[in-house]
């Protein structure tokens, strides 16, 4: 019988600095058994540092403060220590060994512990199936991990953490690559953790997730806890104002109204989008749309409905199977990315880690990479031109820090995203294709990105926007085209009130 109510996890007066920068200042965190504890804060607020301390990546002698698991003090020196005392972390990045089976991935901690023992294939498979069944996770234990979708890999990572029977489970932005049903699926798993008495720390950027899922919330800002409270004492307004120190009201800027009477600048007629996985086959039935000057056109639908492929086809990364693209009334040939850029089309990738940025370079070099020819004379890069141009965009997008010589990796996720956006803006496109421009980005950076979008729209640039966040899609777009089951099924006016309609059209049928 538990005599006194000790917390599953307690972190006490944690302070950590890097050189002169204080990352955490007297942070306290108390997580009860069987509760879901939201940990929120903007990028750079100190969440990652706190989690690295909790996961043992920062040794206990490099910071001040104490950590207790189950009321007992623990001194963590390594990830292994954290694992041993019952702390399991599911990182935000997908970390799955593709060449191994689901079962092997799932049992990797156990395999590592018993690495001097013989590998028992069938026993492992049974064990893995049991874990999956126990947590009601629908994954084929014998499948090769490489064959899983992103979502399945995310769930596999959670299952792997659960196979350790942790006291405390930390989920670091687990939904950043998931949508709709998949998020529900994940929430189901989190609910079952609560019933099992596991203490879950849930790190997220998404307001609705905190509101629906969390029993308790701690908000970090500039390395300090600025708010903590039970579900009954907080709502969206409190959370946002505590997180950013101002109100949500102006998150979405006023739309550009002038587009309604402006002329059509870009047309897509009977576009045949190819299926990148099956050569020569179409992914979607042909469709057409028009884009007016200064218009923001949303493309809605679930993940997998072909949204990214549409943008990549227009941008020439995928070769279209048929159809016409007209710019300013004239048909243009877009066979490859160079053609697209030449015709004033810019593209912002959904995946900044792989396709968007050069992580080994500085901020400046990232910005100028796509426009070097404009900054050169006789093929020599003119540093003065580069510096001037980059400074202009750093200021325009309010990139922090303002130092364009800073290594890219020193920027927060939100500021990295601004750099990706800046990269596509520097080519001075007339048509801008934005694929999830605010993915994994904190609220302040989101607001900056929205503001930039509207500024460009008002200056006459037309934007095609893909987003998994329906409120964002509706608030930013003038209208939204909805795709489902391989075809365009309709259009929704861009108003926040239409979220239910958009959702119904995207998932199909009535609920």
């Amino acid at each position: 019988m538990a005599t006194k109510q000790s917390f599953a996890l307690e972190m006490k007066d944690i302070s950590k600095s890097f050189g002169n920068t204080v990352a955490l200042r007297n942070v306290n965190l108390k997580v009860s058994r069987g509760s879901v504890h939201g940990l929120i804060g903007q990028n750079g607020a100190g969440k990652s540092t706190l989690m690295k301390i909790l996961s043992g990546l920062y040794s206990h002698d490099t910071y001040e403060g104490l950590t207790f698991v189950d009321g007992k003090e623990v001194k963590l020196k390594s990830a292994l220590d954290a694992q041993a005392v019952g702390i399991a972390i599911v990182p935000q990045e997908i970390t799955v060994a593709d060449t191994l089976s689901v079962a092997d991935n799932l049992l990797l901690p156990a395999l590592n512990e018993g690495r001097s023992k013989l590998y028992r294939a069938s026993a492992n498979l049974e064990k893995a199936k049991l874990v999956l069944k126990d947590f009601d996770i629908a994954l084929d234990a014998s499948a090769l991990a490489a064959t899983l979708t992103l979502v399945q890999k995310q769930i596999l990572m959670i299952a792997r953490a659960l196979s350790l029977n942790p006291e405390v489970l930390v989920l670091d932005e687990p939904t950043s690559s998931l949508t709709g049903d998949e998020i529900e699926n994940l929430f189901g798993v989190v609910h079952s953790l609560r019933e099992r008495g596991i203490a879950t720390v849930f790190i997220t950027h998404k307001m609705d997730e905190i509101l629906t899922l969390c029993d308790f919330v701690s908000i970090l800002r500039d390395g300090e806890v600025v708010f903590e409270g039970e579900r009954s004492v907080f709502d969206a307004d409190i959370l946002v104002s505590k997180m950013i120190g101002r109100n949500l009201g102006d998150l979405y800027p006023q739309k550009n109204k002038m587009e309604l009477k402006s002329d059509v600048v870009f047309e897509v007629e009977n576009l045949h989008v190819p299926d990148p996985k099956r050569r020569g086959k179409a992914l979607l039935e042909p469709f057409s749309f028009e884009l007016r000057r200064g218009e923001i056109l949303g493309i809605g639908g679930l993940v997998g409905s072909g949204r990214t492929e549409i943008l990549k086809t227009i941008f020439g990364e995928y070769r279209k199977l048929g159809g016409k693209i007209r710019s300013g009334g004239n048909e243009v040939t877009v066979q490859n990315i160079q053609d697209a850029i030449g015709n004033g089309i810019g593209y912002l990738t959904e995946d900044r880690k792989v396709e968007g940025l050069f992580f080994n370079l500085r901020v400046k070099q990232n910005f100028s990479a796509s426009v070097l020819h404009l900054l050169s004379r006789f093929d020599f890069l003119i540093k003065v031109l580069e510096n001037r141009k980059v400074r202009e965009y750093v200021e325009k997008l309010r990139v922090k820090p303002q130092d364009s010589n800073a290594p890219l990796t020193s920027l927060s996720g939100g500021n990295q995203q601004k750099v990706v956006l800046g990269k596509s803006l520097m080519t001075e496109p007339k048509i801008l294709l934005l694929d999830e421009p605010t993915k994994g980005v904190d609220i302040a950076s989101k607001a900056e990105i929205y503001r930039t979008m509207v500024n460009y729209a008002e200056s006459g640039v037309s934007i095609v926007l893909v987003s998994s966040e329906f409120p964002e899609l509706l608030a930013m777009s003038n209208r939204v085209l909805v795709f489902r089951n391989g075809k365009m099924i309709g259009e929704v006016e861009g108003k926040l009130e239409n979220e239910r309609d958009l959702m119904l059209m995207s998932i199909g049928g009535s609920k």
Binding site: S78, A79, L80, Q83, I89, V90, P91, E93, T95, V96, A97, D98, T99, L100, S101, V102, A103, D104, N105, L108, P109, L111, N112, E113, G114, R115, S116, K117, L118, Y119, A121, S122, N124, L125, A128, A141, S142, L144, M157, R160
Partner: protein, 337 residues
């Protein structure tokens, strides 16, 4: 069964076409020169691949973990030289010495101990590689190229560029029966076979092998599962070094002498054989069975060309072309699977 079954299934599909290719190569040379397919000739092929083979076993596992060691040949030369030095010096001045001057009054180190010395020196070289790569954060490809030059130079410098002979003069004089036995005559092959079994068990039959594949496939996945990645890799670097050192000593043991050119080009033969066998150069997937195939294919081609009398200058060109051809075919097949 899980991934063992999966990789086994695709492995089977792969291996049937691989065996077919090997038979094709053997058949081609056999038709040109029937002596090529005699048992003596096949045995010679096998003997020819043993030394580089011994150096390749743990290298395969290291590559599976996503690291690289290009210094195995130079390591073999240096380790073999040092092993030979200790075994021979009781009889005569190690270099400059005649081929056979047994000195019964000398302080003798057994040729078998020589094998241990070779493995030990190799392990030290592996340890240095591990330290440079894991502590110095130097990519293993570059770090071990450095080691290649250093070890190679030392192996040339120490014996002043001269051969060391008379490795088992002492052993043969003191125990002639043992040194004429089947066991000693075929020791190199026996060691190779034992290492192959050990390597296969580690990689496919022990949890250790899964952890190694996990490291090579996704280091972070391994790290978040509590794997001490650097420690594991250090062990593999040391084992690879020991294997290379042993290979050098086994070569001296087999031939009774060592010359500094021993091990030249081993790294390339070994890596080509490993990759031909289906081990991923980027880590995450490794196979010892495939290594055997790769070694056998490389050696069959080399020996076959000798047996049909192809100009030696052309032999390496043809070997290179065949390696590139098979690799391209495998990559293309992988992509369309």
């Amino acid at each position: 069964m899980s991934s063992a079954l999966i990789s086994g299934r695709s492995g089977l599909r792969n291996s049937s076409s691989r065996v077919a290719f090997l038979i094709l190569v053997l058949g081609f040379f056999g038709l040109q020169n029937s002596a090529f397919l005699s048992s003596a000739s096949i045995l010679a092929v096998f003997q020819g691949l043993v030394f580089v083979g011994i150096a390749s076993v743990f290298l395969t596992i290291l590559i599976t973990s996503g690291e690289f060691d290009i210094s195995v040949g130079a390591n073999a030369a240096l380790s073999g030289t040092i092993a030979a030095y200790f075994v021979v010096r009781g009889d005569h001045e190690p270099w400059n010495g005649p081929s056979s001057t047994y000195n019964p009054d000398g302080e003798h180190v057994s040729p078998f101990i020589g094998l241990l010395i070779g493995a030990l020196v190799g392990a030290v070289i592996g340890f240095i590689n591990a330290a440079v790569v894991l502590l110095g954060k130097v990519p293993s490809f570059i770090a071990t190229i450095g080691m290649l030059f250093a070890a190679k130079s030392l192996a040339t410098y120490i014996p002043e560029g001269k051969p060391i002979r008379g490795y088992y003069d002492h052993g043969r004089a003191s125990n002639p029966d043992l040194f004429n036995s089947f066991f000693v005559k075929n020791l190199s092959i026996i060691i190779f076979l034992v290492l192959l079994v050990i390597g296969h068990v580690i990689l496919k039959r022990m949890n250790f092998g899964r952890v190694v594949a996990a490291i090579g496939s996704n280091k972070e996945a391994a790290r978040t599962s509590g794997v001490q990645v650097a420690k594991m890799k250090a062990v593999l670097f040391v084992a690879t070094g020991a294997g290379a050192g042993l290979a050098g000593a086994v070569s001296v043991f087999h031939f009774g002498a060592i010359y500094f050119s021993l091990g030249s080009g081993w790294e390339l033969t070994a890596i080509a054989a490993i990759v031909l066998g289906g081990t991923s150069l980027f880590g995450g997937r490794g196979t010892i069975i495939g290594l055997i195939y790769g070694l056998f294919l490389m050696q069959s081609i080399a020996s076959g060309m000798v047996s049909v009398g192809i100009d030696p200058w052309w032999q390496t060109v043809i070997t290179g072309a065949i390696v590139l051809f098979t690799l391209v075919i495998e990559r293309v097949r992988e992509r369309f699977k």
